[in-house]
């Protein structure tokens, strides 16, 4: 009976109820949509810059992060690798050796990051072969190198040309070598594209005079959410007087900070939206109670407890919101899913500035049930809060005064 009364009351003033429901729908859709885009862009950013490059967790020699030289490298042994891989969820280890070198070609010289990688294993992590825009990918024993497209441009190098590299090797050795350019890769992050030189691991170890040497071990696992857990497990199982496992949050604190501050500003914007919605609902419920005071007074007079009356009015607000939330969710999901698979492609200045941050200029959404539920719950709570005052006014209703009107 109470629900029936509530339901019919909603449709008593169709226009107003529809406006209220629409505002809830709009709030849910807008909130879900913006949050999904926000989190989607973070995910993409993390995946591009971290997941598909440095990995979510790396193991280094314990002093390497403070002083990134080859002298703080790791002598890779099978027992070390075995120890790492035996930790649950870890699927593999990519050995890397990286250091800065000077690259020159004719009159041009440039500082580069030489990164020795295991060609086959890395390809599955960072999709390097897909990033080749000219030439070919290299094999494990190749002498050839892959260079970033911007670097190639700067040094005026093409596939087949040779690059002279000079730097410091292990324990004071000088590293010198001439390497044929086997391919040119376009890295999504411009700062990397401008300075990267990829070399097969064996070749790089030779170049740096550091056989079996490595600077970082990239830990491979599927679920990015396991980052912290895996990091902790590594640190408890490895000899921490020699090694140290680090999460991407520790390795790239700027990115984490950027994401967090961006998230805060996004949430603030949403709060403003929520306030507007809250006022709308407040207004509706207030009008609904004000204009029905005489009716309420009559119901109390004939013997209805005020609390029951409050329940009916609360039902009205909740039904309208439930309708708005359900329709809102129903509309959001296909939108979010669509833009996940067909992200918005940005162009012009916007795209350029985003590329500067090392990101692809696309804006995908994240498909997250949590976001949808969170927004729906927030709107629900807002309703109850916004309805609190009007409902409280029922409790204070003076029956005689309302009847006399």
């Amino acid at each position: 009976m109470n629900l029936r009364i509530a339901w019919r009351n909603i449709w008593r003033n169709k226009k107003r109820s529809l406006i209220t429901i629409s505002s809830v729908i709009l709030a849910v859709v807008l909130a879900t949509f913006t949050r999904s885009f926000q989190e989607g862009s973070y995910e993409l950013m993390i995946e591009n810059a971290i997941g598909k490059f440095s990995g979510y967790v790396q193991v280094h020699q314990k002093d390497y992060w403070e002083d990134k030289t080859l002298d703080n490298g790791i002598d890779v042994s099978d027992s070390l690798l075995h120890q790492i891989v035996s930790i649950p969820n870890i699927e593999g280890v990519n050995i890397r050796i990286e250091s800065f070198s000077l690259a020159s070609n004719r009159n041009n010289t440039k500082g580069t990051l030489v990164m020795g990688i295991e060609p086959e294993k890395e390809d599955s992590l960072i999709d390097l072969s897909k990033k080749i825009i000219k030439g070919k990918y290299f094999g494990n024993l190749d002498q050839g190198i892959l260079i970033g497209s911007k670097l190639a441009q700067y040094l005026e190098l093409d596939v087949g040309d040779s690059l002279v590299l000079m730097g410091q090797g292990h324990w004071g050795n000088t590293a010198v070598g001439v390497f044929p350019v086997k391919g040119i890769v376009k890295m999504p992050a411009p700062n990397i594209d401008r300075q990267i030189v990829f070399m097969p691991l064996k070749t790089a170890q030779e170049y740096f005079s550091y056989p079996n040497g490595a600077t970082s071990l990239v830990i491979k696992f599927k679920d990015a959410d396991l980052t912290q857990e895996i990091c902790n497990m590594l640190n408890s199982s490895l000899d921490t007087t020699q090694y140290k496992a680090m999460s991407w949050q520790k390795m790239s604190p700027e990115m984490l900070q950027q994401i967090q501050s961006d998230r805060i500003s996004g949430v603030m914007m949403l709060n403003i939206l929520y306030m507007i919605i809250a006022f709308g609902i407040f207004g509706t419920v207030l009008m609904m109670t004000e204009e029905r005071k005489r009716e309420f007074a009559m119901m109390i007079a004939i013997g209805m407890q005020k609390t029951k009356l409050i329940i009916i009015t609360l039902y009205e607000a909740l039904i309208m919101n439930a309708l708005g939330i359900i329709i809102g969710i129903a509309l959001s999901i296909p939108l979010v899913v669509y833009y996940h698979y067909y992200p918005i492609e940005m162009s012009g200045e916007m795209a350029k500035s985003i590329e500067k941050f090392g990101m692809e200029p696309v804006l995908p959404t994240i498909i997250s049930f949590k976001i949808v539920i969170n927004q729906a719950l927030t709107v629900l709570i807002i309703t109850i809060v916004a309805a609190a005052y009007p409902l409280w006014s029922i409790l204070k209703l003076n029956v005689i005064r309302a009847l006399r009107r």
Binding site: M1, R4, I5, R8, N9, R12, R294, E295, M298, M299, I300, A301, I302, G303, M304, Q305, K306, K308, V399, I400, L403
Partner: protein, 227 residues
Amino acid sequence: MSIIQIENLKKTYRETEVEVHAVNGIDLSFESGEFAAIVGPSGSGKTTLLNMIGGLDSPTEGKIIINNTNIGNLNASQIIDFRLWNIGFVFQSYNLIPVLTAKENVEFIMHLQGRKKQEREQRTKDLLTSVGLGDRLNSRPSQLSGGQQQRVAVARALASKPKFVLADEPTANLDSKSTENLLDIMEKLNRDENITFIFSTHDARVVKKARRVITIEDGKVVSDEVK
């Protein structure tokens, strides 16, 4: 034993600059089965008196005892329940819940009492038939005339099986034909089923039908005649 006993009842309003003694020392009692009219000029205190008897308003002084219960001793929630089980109300207008049909309006009060569905439905049909609306069960208040609405209100007031029915100017908004019709129905219910009615009115024709006429002026009973 009287069902309502009123002793030295007073209601003084101090909200305005001057004190208004809306009800100024009334002693009255009502027996079961009465059909009593309260009359008097506008502002004499009829509504104030009925509101206090109905437990909607509290007296400044004096007491009201209904069926051995001093209603002044009940708290806010208890008095609402007391009304639900003991008193039927018919107001001048806006008696019905606009979103419910005639049938649902009558059922509603029994629903509040927690009566079973079968009993509710049977009683609703009987009552609406007895007020001549057996064929309008599913009409909404807005689809009924003023007189029909008041008859639904009478049916609703009786649905809870109250000790008595209070009606403050139930015919004030009705034309003479509807007034007569409503009064006939009330009279018949009073005669056949011994329902106690206490109503206020301005209308001489309504007064004529009453078996007891209480006249008040300036918040005091000036005459109390039983025909």
